[in-house]
Amino acid sequence: MNQLNTYLYIAAILFSIGIFGVMTRRNGIAVLMGVELILNAANINFIAFSKYGGMNFDGHVFALFIIVLAAAEAAVALAIVINIYNNLNTINVDEASAIKQ
């Protein structure tokens, strides 16, 4: 556990899982959850680097920024999802784009 690689592997796994979620899910909110996983994977990396990689506290600050971004993204994305849902009555992303055309 006291190794940079362990954390990087964990982050990689989370990242792939997140990608999987984003690719397979059609529901907007489920996609959002996949994105959260990806962001979290990145965060783990940053903080692992800051402990082992000499990134020191810059890593923490970056992670902090990412979390903030995630929050902002979630708020806006959800507003959009809700808006789409209102107009098109679906939150399946591909259906929504199909209807739009």
């Binding site: 979390i67 929050a71 708020a75």
Partner: protein, 134 residues
């Protein structure tokens, strides 16, 4: 730090056990007499009309949640507040800008009446106490 958070983890485990124990006791001691009506949900004695799991109109609450963004702002304030005394005026000014920018956001939604939580459509209103914006 490990020891502290280890204690917290342990406390969670203990908490689960602490809850499971009485639940187990309850399972042992309490009578159980499941009838059809009992397993129905309570709706003041009437037949529930439809499930509660429908598309609940939460417009009203969602607005509150958008202010999650303010939550994030608070998060930024914590590290700032810790070093505030060391950095003095400089930190104050920097944070002042930060806060003012966000206050603009608050002011914006305030002015745009997004903070009026409910948009009621009522027939009669008088506004004597002027609290009610129609």
């Amino acid at each position: 730090m490990y020891r502290d958070f280890g204690t917290i983890l342990l406390a969670m485990a203990v908490g689960v056990v602490f809850l499971c124990l009485p639940l187990f006791l309850q399972w042992l001691l309490a009578p159980s007499n499941k009838t059809k009506d009992k397993l129905e949900v309570f709706e003041c004695g009437e037949d529930p009309e439809g499930s509660a799991w429908l598309k609940f109109n939460m417009r009203f609450y969602i607005i509150a949640l958008i202010f999650l963004i303010f939550d994030v702002e608070v998060v930024f304030l914590f590290p700032w507040a810790v070093v505030f005394k060391d950095l003095g005026m400089l930190a104050m000014v920097e944070m002042g800008i930060f806060l003012i920018i966000l206050s603009v956001g608050l002011a914006y939604v305030w002015v745009k009446t997004d903070l009026e939580w409910v948009k009621r459509k009522v027939k009669y209103a008088s506004g004597r106490y002027e609290n009610l914006k129609q």
